[in-house]
Symmetry: C2
């Protein structure tokens, strides 16, 4: 027997067509720093996306070719998000926070021939251009001094002039739903950045899932303040999902400082927002100093790193509910969201809200334990999180003429993504991450979380900082080494610290090796650099006490 259903591909042009007609009245509001923000309806976005596609086609952008964007969150970036994949080309969002040499590497690796750039970002792009030999066209959108582009090699176009007068409809091609639609490079801390190429299918399904009630579940009654950048994992999929469901977008452009964010929330009254914890920390400090009305926000999606419970509590008091989400570039990024099960009191909900959240229907998850076994979902057994699903990466982009890359430490032999995160899953599917796989201590077939030991140590009143790393051990394979920075005037010793740890940590997990150091080595983004500590230990550069 065969199905008798139509075989219609899941395409971004369908999101564009649907949003710009059925939800044509919904708006994208872009902050301008002027007295009035800029507003454009989804119907207008649809017409301008068609105009942009006609313009790009004329500049020689063909199906399967990447087009780069170096842009803030704004209406023109949304137009590029919809037009470029719909015409069959590949939207390549460029992370403007990366070091210039990484940016140049990424543009060259993807072989971008066209870059759309915000005028305000020309000071970043212009010095790079001599290192981007394949870039033929630069299209400048929004305010900013264009004079720096005088005499550069590529052809320069003004976005508005380029699209003006072109047809407001485009006969979008009927693509294969597995065709490439967008790409994003991970800013990995080791080695070159690696590209993930999303398909129309993956983005379409991800958008549906984001719009499902068990995920974000926003409607055309909502306005979403999209703080998470469009150059960062598709702004967590929001430009696509909001356009699909008619959710109004509030776009901060380059005004990402706490004061303008507070002002835009008070004035535009978004019901939802999405941003990393740092943004919410800054905003909290801002509104504590200069009170603003944030009460329009009833749901906030927070991800990128774990949200401190104290921050959640502070916002709870403001009537703003922060909801943890977990994901990564390789997961499009919706991996989990911490919506507690129904029917619980606020007190019962609290432990659920502290987890990374539960998996949506489209994501399968498993934990691979120390010995390679699949661990049970019992809330206690730890393993490396591996995920599978139609919007999860199977490989990295190898380049225009190369095979995809499938590094063994990132993809299991049966095709699951190895997330590099270690944690537990409760019987009802709530994920709690406890460590990074590369930092966990593999001791005698069991895993010890370095993060748990660090947090317990740092709770001691005399400890300023503590990093715990795995070091080789003849009997157990690996054992934890505790590296401690003491506060000024501290009088504690190793034995007391170890006893203190023993109050909250199982005895077999307690470190035998200890060292007091003046400071913990850190990476460029301020994380503990455990590689350095392990090397110092291996070289005998640390003064170790064994207990």
């Amino acid at each position: 027997m065969h199905s008798t259903m139509q075989d219609v591909p899941l395409l971004i042009s369908r999101i564009l067509a649907h949003g710009s007609t059925i939800h044509g009245r919904s708006t994208v509001t872009t902050w301008t720093g002027e007295p009035e923000p800029h507003r454009r309806t989804f119907a207008e976005i649809g017409e301008r996306a068609a105009q942009l596609a006609h313009a790009l086609r004329e500049l020689g952008v063909d199906e399967g070719q990447p087009a780069g964007t170096l842009m803030w969150n704004n209406a023109e970036h949304v137009e590029a998000y919809l037009a470029i994949p719909s015409m069959g080309a590949v939207l390549h969002t460029l992370n403007l926070r990366l070091p210039p040499e990484q940016l140049a590497y990424i543009v060259n690796h993807a072989a971008d021939r066209i870059i759309l750039v915000n005028g305000s970002l020309l000071p970043l792009l212009v010095p790079l251009l001599p290192h981007l030999p394949r870039v033929e066209h630069v299209i400048v959108a929004g305010p900013g001094d264009r004079s720096a582009l005088d005499g550069v090699a590529p052809a320069v176009h003004d976005y508005e002039e380029l699209i003006a007068g072109r047809p407001t409809r485009y006969d979008w091609p009927e693509l294969d739903e597995r065709a490439p639609a967008a790409m994003c490079y991970t800013s990995g801390t080791t080695g070159d950045p690696k590209g993930v190429v999303y398909s129309h299918r993956s983005i379409y399904l991800h958008s549906m899932q984001v719009n499902m009630t068990e995920s974000m579940g926003l409607t055309d009654r909502d306005t979403s303040l999209v703080v998470v950048p469009q150059f960062h994992v598709n702004a967590w999929g929001l430009p696509h999902s909001t356009f699909m469901a008619g959710v109004h977008m509030l776009m901060p452009d380059r005004f990402l400082q706490p004061a303008p964010l507070a002002e835009m929330i008070e004035r535009e009254r978004p019901t939802h927002a999405a941003a990393v914890p740092t943004i919410w920390q800054g905003l909290l400090a801002e509104v504590t100093a200069n009170p603003r009305d944030l009460t329009s926000l009833d749901r906030v999606t927070i991800g990128g790193s774990a949200c401190p419970p104290s921050l959640m509590e502070a916002y709870d008091k403001l009537g703003v509910r922060l909801c943890h989400a977990w994901g990564m570039t390789e997961t499009s990024p919706l991996g989990t969201m911490a919506n507690p099960p129904a029917g619980l009191t606020a007190e019962e909900e609290w432990p659920y809200r502290l987890t990374q959240g539960r998996f949506p229907a489209g994501v399968e998850a498993r934990l691979t334990g120390p010995g390679g076994d699949i661990m049970p979902w019992d809330g206690e057994s730890a393993g490396e999180l591996e995920v599978r699903g139609p919007w999860i990466a199977a490989a990295y982009y190898g380049g225009p003429d190369a095979e995809p890359l499938r590094p063994e430490d990132k993809f299991s032999p049966d095709g699951w993504l190895k997330t590099g995160d270690v944690g537990t899953i409760s019987p009802d599917g709530f994920l709690t991450l406890t460590d990074r796989a590369k930092d966990v201590i593999k001791s005698g077939g069991e895993w010890i979380s370095s993060v748990e030991l660090e947090n317990a140590l740092m709770a001691h009143p005399d400890v300023a900082e503590a990093a715990v790393v795995a070091v080789p051990d003849e009997k157990w394979g690996e054992r934890p080494l505790a590296t401690v920075v003491l506060k000024e005037g501290a009088t504690t010793d190793y034995a007391e610290l170890r006893a203190f740890l023993g109050e909250s940590i199982a005895k077999w997990q307690l470190p035998e090796r200890w060292t007091i150091v003046p400071t913990v080595p850190k990476t460029s983004v301020g994380k503990f650099d455990k590689k350095v500590i392990r090397r110092q230990y291996a070289e005998g550069a640390l003064d170790i006490t064994e207990l």
Copy 2:
């Protein structure tokens, strides 16, 4: 460039796995007529579905084979809904309202070898069995006298005995997402019933769309009273979509009369319900006579036929909001839902609520006008509605050894489904159906709605019933013939009726041909039988007055 995403199929086994773990606490409550209804968690449903699959496998059900269900809405039917497709077989729901000869035709055409039946429906099945030579196994679930099965040809099994003690996990096969999952026959008024074969992909995507906020958007805080039968277009997709999102199901089993429905709403307090207008008419009469608390219901999906505005108003007064949906067996069935755009007053919402609703992201729509042209979405230009999308049929099932059927009047040459409905679409995508394509009057390149003329005529105080049909006309191709049944003692005449019509209908649409008849011929389900009227006219059997 190629996408680097995983190629994971969209399968019903994923809905089963997700619902029975992440939403394992949600429940299916089946009405029993006893003091207590029966409750089962999604986790238990998951285990029992695995047991059922093991049992069916042992009885010889293989991948691609149909298994019939002749069942009410209840927990066991949900188990069959999930187990049969997940194991790779095809769920074939049998419409117990069909005449016995049609039921026999359908079972034989699909080549069902196994039938799951509720004990209470044995009086329907047993007389059919001698006409079902391919049926080898009958599995009886729920209460009902089994003695009628003594001596029948197929092997008889008790559902509970059959699944008891079997493993509660099943290694669901990794199927092609386009593999057949379920089938449902249309109960067409002409010719043999025709089968639509849904795929895993179509059902999975349909479930996602139903769970999106622009569609039903239910959550694990909701309980859905699923009155629409599971044998009728997959109960509008609710068993799949609710299981996916953790929505509690309240299943009426055979207790579909107004009194038990009112009791189950008052006692179980569902927040949502889905049923045809007749059910809501009956329930309204019931609660008017015997008041019950229906206030738990905040949303009701109403479809199958248009809901009279007076019924919506009556329920509005009870605090229960009826929301129109339109669809058909060939559309899985979600075609439209009348959720008004955001930000309107109740008065502004009203005209939107009277439409069939707007199309969801996954459904493309076009209107094909009288001359075959695509008509604009202007709220005025009428055409036959054609739809396209991943859960819309492309053909009918031809039978085990036959090609799929693609009748010209049902499928356009470019593959769109011709719905047979005529209507208009507003610029923001709200559909208003005005007639059936076969009944519309094609007059001089324009269309005249027979239904509009009938409604206008029946508004006259002297008119009991009126049917308007197309009759051949030399000059215009077709013109309307008005067939009128007068009330007793009526004194009106044709000229007065025509003048009355002229108050609300454009002059060029007014019928020239009139006849007064004692009664309008009707079909077996009580609809006007316009074929008979047209034949009577052609045979000269009607007494025609021309004005």
